[in-house]
Amino acid sequence: MQLQVEGVWFAVDASSVQEILGRKNWIAVPGAARATPGVVEWRGRAVAVLDVAALGSGGSALSPSAPRRRVVVTQVGRNVLAMPVDDVREICEVPEERVRPHHATNHPFAPTEVEIEDGKPLPLLDLSLATQAGAGGGRTES
């Protein structure tokens, strides 16, 4: 599945996606990591928000006062992550050989890239790595 955050397109493994929601408010948790700055309510629980823009792709950090247009909820192992994104494209099937170690793209949380139909490779986000970035990453200012 292709996602866009702050003008940058990424891919994630569609099998991890649980649900795609519309714009949804989230709450900043003081002291939380920059990549996982707060929580959002989803199916009667508080799940961590993952700000893809804070993972090194540039762009403005997520703000509670300006939620993004879509929220992609993913399951990563035992953890559930909610990723606010600006745009989502349909799921596409890609042959294994089009997933390869990153070469044209360079993203710290995407050791592989995937070539979608137009031939342009996209960083394939490793959400397990991203989760670890939250647990051990830099703090928010608050």
Partner: protein, 154 residues
């Protein structure tokens, strides 16, 4: 939402079935809260002479001191009591248990944070939205109590 007056005891606040009751404090556009049953006394600033944990400052919230709204909550569940500074308006709030959720502290990287839970409150009015509560863990507050620096009521 019910107001409580300084000097009153919140410990008597009881929760109805399916509800939890919190003392909520407005702070810099956010609202933090502590379980009402753990609040032993609510004092005016001037009635407390010791040190007090400043939750809003710990959270990095912008506080605009307002005349007459400075209070100290004396909080504790066991032998330890800790004084907590409350800069803003204090309310008693009932929240449905189902709306209170533990924060995924390990993912957020805040395993020793003051915030243990959040409450997403539902309004009966369709368009109205109530601000969520950041619920402060009493045990974490007790750990922040300055050693041998028990304050006293003046």
């Amino acid at each position: 939402m019910r107001d409580i007056r300084a000097g009153g005891s919140a410990a008597a606040a009881t929760s109805g079935e399916g509800l939890r009751t919190f003392l909520a404090v407005d702070a810099g556009g956010s609202t933090w809260a502590v379980e009402a049953g753990a609040v032993r006394r609510v004092l005016q600033d001037a009635e407390w002479s010791g040190e007090a944990v400043d939750v809003a400052r710990t959270f990095g919230l912008e506080i605009e001191p307002k005349d007459g709204l400075g209070h100290v909550l004396v909080v504790g569940k066991g032998a330890v009591e800790v004084a907590v500074r409350a800069h803003g308006h204090i309310s008693l709030i009932d929240v449905a248990r189902k709306d209170v959720h533990p924060v995924p502290a390990d993912i957020l990287g805040i395993t020793r944070s003051l915030v243990s839970e959040v409450a997403f409150r539902k309004s009966s009015a369709p368009a109205a939205e109530l601000p969520p509560l950041l619920i402060v863990d009493v045990a974490a507050l007790e750990r922040m109590a300055p050693e041998n620096s028990e304050g006293s009521e003046t």
